[in-house]
Symmetry: C2
Subunit: 128 residues, 2 copies
DNA sequence: CGGAATCCGCCGCGATACTG
DNA sequence: CAGTATCGCGGCGGATTCCG
């Protein structure tokens, strides 16, 4: 994956687009993307329903994030020209694939949440 | 993990600290953390060496991110009181554990990198 | 060498108002 | 209902300077 190495044989993480890791992180790093992806694992859902389930997200950010996810091929957007309009979002095949490793990560974090909080308290105690 | 559901049986993602996912994302979410963690999988390394390997990171961000990782118990910091000072960072046991699911995620992203870029081009072509 | 401290630009993101 | 458009500020993070 990362072939570039320095004189000590250690990997170098390039700035550019070629670094796959950076491309992932930009999505994962965005808190809303992950929550939206996970919400859609419960099945297809409508705009305002997602909005109410992902607490705290603004209309602006939901629209924008869904667009990005659609653009990357993780989410499918379907418009039903009723009155009023109905728009349903669902995971694509690739979207469902992405959620798998993502889920393992979240699961790990959930299990280690206490250990992390404990470590923090210890650290903050030392530094005061 | 997430027990709260709405009338349709779909999960609700609370704003608060109770949502494990949100806690994960804030840690792993930022681009620098992941790159630093991965760089340390090649073995312990010094401050400026990491800085040169993670391209584009500023001194400020490297220091800050390393502190956060140390605080959460993912990274160990050891000072060698030589002249000039030498500081070596390495993954803790928990840090190594974290990298595993993280690696699967990155691996997935690497494999699907082309598909994502292709989807993007198709999307951008439509919207123009 | 490995930081800490300060300053500051810019843009992410929320709030609000308006449309098809 | 599901968006777009516009404005405004808060804070992330880069650049610079100084220190043990």
């Amino acid at each position: 994956m990362e072939l570039l190495k320095n004189s000590s044989g250690k990997r170098i993480f390039k700035k550019t687009d070629e670094c796959a890791i950076r491309n992932v992180i930009t999505h994962i790093g965005d808190k809303w993307s992950v929550l939206i992806l996970f919400s859609l694992t419960d099945g297809p859902d409508r705009f305002n329903s997602i909005k109410s389930r992902v607490e705290g997200i603004s209309q602006r950010m939901l629209t924008q994030t869904l667009r990005d996810l659609e653009r990357d091929g993780f989410v499918n957007r379907k418009v039903y020209p009723e009155v009023p309009v109905k728009v349903v979002y669902k995971l694509t095949a690739m979207g469902k694939e992405l959620v798998k490793p993502l889920y393992d990560l979240v699961l790990w974090a959930d299990e280690n949440h206490d250990a992390i909080k404990k470590s923090r308290r210890a650290y903050d105690g030392k530094v005061k």
